[in-house]
């Protein structure tokens, strides 16, 4: 992903913010709009960014992963379950419960990553199937346990959904976070911050370390990598598991940071949009992040347009329809990113099992 394209994407996000200011500027000060748009953009982009990073680790090592959705859904459930179990049954304080929940979510993702690696590296199963298995499995297991553990009489919570220990507290930059209006920028939720740090870290790992070089080598030309003594299977295993761990953190976002509850199917296709972000971003961390931000900004536009419904000029009245605005993020993302990105190039050995 070159800088010109990144700049272009930045410009588009600014334009989207501009549109909202144009519509709602008469009712709310522009600065407030900018800050709230940015906050929504970052929040929406967080699970997408993490999901896309998961995909990048897997696919740079040559393993296609369409199971990101399932990894996030299962992690969201088990992380949430762990936090509640610790908090209400074992009486652990809320914050440690939540942190343990995040850990459980991450490990759940890692475990599913391991499953994907076993299937696609050891058993050389078609990798699309491995991902599909994970997706269906996650829907089934989270839905089943959710109902069986919480809504059945005689289950551990006695048929009542217990109160969750809340969500992760925000991280505050001292002083700056106390500023009026813009202070909100310096007060972010921890997983959102972690996502941004992971983008930087992943970029560094992939392009500036030996590990990254080896990862890319097994994803581009495993035979050549094997010839120079890189253990292809081990690199693929490690990267797919790392990807799973990151998707697990993305899952934690849903139930431990965004809202303090679990709903069946609550990831609602975010894993697939993360997949799209990864492809749009040409399998690079910054590119995927930019794509996730575009989607986040488009979503923020949608939320704000609904909020400023009355301010929309009459000739644009169709934008007052909730469902018309609802398709805006997807249409915009599709048009913008297809228009400016066009052809993307996956790692050469992506999806191809390695036969020694």
């Amino acid at each position: 992903m070159d800088w010109r394209r990144l700049g272009f994407i930045g410009l588009i996000i600014l334009i989207l913010i501009g549109v909202v200011i144009l519509v709602g500027g008469s009712r709310v000060p522009p600065l407030v709009i900018v800050v709230s748009m940015l906050a929504t953009t970052i929040a929406v982009a967080t699970p997408l960014t993490l999901g896309a990073l998961c995909g990048i680790y897997c696919e740079r090592a040559g393993v296609v992963n369409i199971g990101i959705e399932g990894m996030m859904l299962a992690s969201a459930f088990f992380g949430w379950f762990a936090a509640i179990y610790l908090n209400t049954i074992l009486g652990v304080a809320p914050l440690p419960s939540l942190l343990a929940g995040v850990l459980v979510a991450i490990l759940t993702g890692g475990l599913l990553g391991l499953l994907h690696a076993v299937l696609s590296v050891t058993y050389k199963v078609d990798q699309i199937i491995g991902g599909t298995v994970i997706n269906i499995l996650a829907i089934g297991i989270s839905g089943f346990l959710n109902r069986q553990l919480f809504f059945e009489k005689g289950s551990i919570f006695g048929g009542q959904v217990p109160h969750a220990p809340g969500v992760l507290p925000r991280l505050r930059v001292p002083l700056l976070a106390d500023l009026p209006v813009v202070g909100r920028i310096f007060e972010q939720q921890p997983i959102a911050v972690a996502a941004i740090l992971l983008v930087l870290l992943t970029h560094f790992i992939l392009f500036y370390t030996r590990w990254g070089l080896r990862t890319r080598a097994v994803g581009e030309h495993p035979r050549a990598a094997d010839t120079v003594g890189i253990n292809v299977s081990r690199m693929r295993y490690a990267n797919v598991i790392i990807g799973g761990l990151i998707a697990g953190l993305g899952g934690a976002y849903f139930t431990l940071e965004s809202v303090p509850s679990f709903e069946p199917l609550m990831t609602n296709g975010r894993g697939f949009i993360a997949l799209a972000a990864m492809i749009f971003g040409n399998w690079s961390p910054f590119g995927a992040w930019a794509a996730a931000l575009v989607f986040g900004a488009a979503q923020a536009l949608q939320i704000n347009l609904q909020f400023f419904r009355e301010q929309i000029p009459p000739q644009w009245a169709f934008l007052q329809q909730a469902y018309v605005v609802g398709l805006v993020p997807y249409l915009l993302t599709m048009v913008i990113l297809t228009g400016i990105i066009g052809r993307t190039t996956p790692p050469a050995a992506d999806g191809v099992p390695y036969e020694k």
């Binding site: 696919e59 699309i128 199937i129 269906i136 499995l137 829907i139 069986q148 997807y330």
Partner: protein, 376 residues
């Protein structure tokens, strides 16, 4: 026993071996998945035997159960064929969900609106094909757009079909809550009015929901097989799917084949929606299609992208979904456990090495390449 008798017996076993091999691994995969599923039910505090009894009764235990199983299987067959056909062409159509929804909406629109517009009854021979055709057309268009984008700009079909799923979902919600909403004052649901009699496929046996759509699905499966194996277009689709460079070198217009494959794929998904409306529900209601598109991917893969495999996988999927309702009714075990078992079936069928190792079956057969990742 004499040696010659033993030899004869082993000859006989050898002659049935190919059929045995083809059937035994999937059967054992299903069996293993059920065993693992039973363990999960047991761990969560349920009674697996009672659950499976309910599942079996609900799926195939009576004439009505069989009828309902085919009702479930019908859209799975169409949508599974849609995904399988795209796979054959080297394309990954995640968009069957959206194509199916739009197919249903358009079939319903033509179904109830056409007599209103013309101000007269339309004969069924004209009306029904128009309604089904409108659904197929809508699906074909929704599939062709990502195909065209891929052929033209290189935009990835995975991304565009995902995005177009959501666009279709919002469009459908808008139409069913607004312009196309059933105006009946008692209606509070997002659904269309009932389609006219002339746009309906009549039931086969009164009292059973088993419908001609299932028969049509079997015929279409045969047609897809014929198209792929016996026609030039099918050959071009398979070649472009297996190796686009070789296809291009051999003079195949790969861009054109990409658009056609996606269009045909979308058309099959649209047909799934149109048949649900014209043969079963007689209207389109929001939320009826949730998840068909993703089940279709699993079914196409379980059926190894072969039309006959897709039909068998759809029947299995349909039987399980159908039986699950009865299972939950009888034993209070949540239907979701079926998804777990389905995932395990797919896993064990795909990773047949696990099943072979478990049951010590030694079979060598050639590997079939189903999908090609994101390439090209």
């Amino acid at each position: 026993m004499r040696i010659s008798e033993l030899k004869k017996a082993s000859e006989r076993i050898k002659s049935v071996r190919p059929f045995f091999n083809a059937a035994i691994v999937p059967l054992l995969a299903v069996f293993t998945a059920l065993v693992v599923g039973a363990l999960i039910i047991l761990l969560a505090g349920g009674d697996p035997l009672a659950a499976y009894r309910g599942l079996f009764q609900g799926a195939v235990g009576s004439a009505r159960a069989w009828s309902e199983t085919t009702v479930w299987a019908t859209p799975y067959i169409f949508a599974g064929l849609a995904v399988a056909l795209a796979f054959k062409g080297g394309l990954f159509n995640i968009g069957a969900e959206g194509q199916l929804a739009l197919g249903a909406v358009m079939a319903a629109l033509v179904g109830y609106k056409l007599p209103e517009l013309l101000g007269m009854n339309v004969p069924a021979v004209v009306h029904l094909p128009l309604a089904v055709g409108a659904g197929m057309l809508a699906g074909a268009l929704w599939g062709a757009i990502p195909g065209w984008l891929k052929a033209r700009t290189g935009g990835h079909e995975v991304i565009n079909t995902i995005m177009m799923n959501y666009i279709a979902l919002n469009m459908t919600s808008y139409l069913l809550n607004g312009p196309m909403k059933d105006p009946n004052p008692l209606n509070v649901v997002a659904r269309t009015p009932e389609i006219a009699q002339s746009a309906r496929i009549p039931p086969i046996f009164p009292g059973y929901r088993f419908h001609w759509g299932f028969v049509l699905a079997l015929l279409v499966a045969g047609a897809v097989w014929w198209l792929l194996q016996k026609t030039t277009l099918g050959f071009e689709i398979r070649t472009a799917g297996a190796n686009p460079d070789a296809a291009r070198y051999a003079g195949v217009n790969v861009s054109r084949i990409i658009v056609i494959s996606m269009m045909l794929s979308g058309m099959l998904a649209g047909l799934a929606g149109a048949i649900e409306v014209t043969a079963l529900n007689y209207r389109h209601e929001l939320g009826f299609s949730v998840g068909y598109g993703f089940d279709a991917i699993a079914i196409a893969l379980l059926g190894k992208t072969h039309p006959l495999g897709v039909v068998l996988a759809s029947l299995l999927w349909g039987a399980m979904r159908n039986g699950a309702t009865r299972m939950q009714f009888l034993t209070q075990i949540p239907v979701d456990v079926i998804s777990v078992i389905q995932a395990l079936i797919l896993l064990f069928v795909a990773a047949d090495a696990i099943v072979r190792w478990l049951y010590r079956i030694r079979v060598e057969e050639e590997k079939l390449v189903l999908t090609r990742g994101w390439g090209g």
